[in-house]
Symmetry: C2
Subunit: 105 residues, 2 copies
DNA sequence: AAATATACCTCGTGATATGATGTATATCAT
DNA sequence: ATGATATACATCATATCACGAGGTATATTT
């Protein structure tokens, strides 16, 4: 997809991916793949940003001799998802404006 | 609204605003205000970008002794709107992913 | 005369996504 | 055994972009 539109949804997708169950980067990419594709560099950038913003916490573990970092959503992260739902209504309103203009043809 | 989400919609809104009828910057801002607010600096940046991308053409006029630049959508611009409609389906798919995860609570 | 509306523009800044690249271990196929 | 692929993390440079601040100029309203 064209990228621009996706941008605003990235943070929310990542938060959604860990909302009901802690997860780690590599797994998140695979889980989200059917819905939204993002590279590792993009995801780790986002995870770092969300961590700095207090939206999630990190727990380092070891699995089969490999490093694995589990991410856990915080209260602030949950609130961010709630805020998104409100913003989504505005997005729909904008979409309707575009469609309205589109139908004047 | 949060900004990030709006980003991907800005170009499309501007194209939609001139789709059925040529318009000019100052008017577009007022027309779009109920749906999406954008500053003059933002709009003129976008108009310049869309012009460079061949999505619209410009016609300079004079009105009451004041400069006025009318923008006209091109074939490429119309195609951009069509592409957006396809992308929108992906956006909805992503939204549903977020909501799905949200309901596991 | 002053304030507001109309109408355009540029520059600097901060935020951001992404490709390229790197590190390291485990597993699988030949 | 060895080479490829999968797992799993990270950083850096770059390009794009929205936006506030500030600027220019004329017409209309108070």
């Amino acid at each position: 997809m064209e990228g621009q539109l996706k941008r605003g949804l990235l943070d929310i997708c990542v938060l959604a991916a860990i909302k009901s169950k802690d997860s780690y980067g590599y797994k998140m990419i695979k889980d989200m793949k059917p819905y939204i594709e993002l590279s590792e560099s993009t995801l780790y950038t986002i995870l770092k940003r969300l961590e700095n913003a207090g939206m999630l916490t990190v727990r380092i573990t070891e699995h089969d001799g490999r490093l694995r970092k589990y991410y856990h959503i915080t209260e602030a992260g949950l609130r961010r998802i709630e805020d998104f739902k409100a913003e989504w209504k505005e997005v729909i309103s904008i979409y309707q404006y575009v469609m309205k203009e589109d139908c004047h043809e």
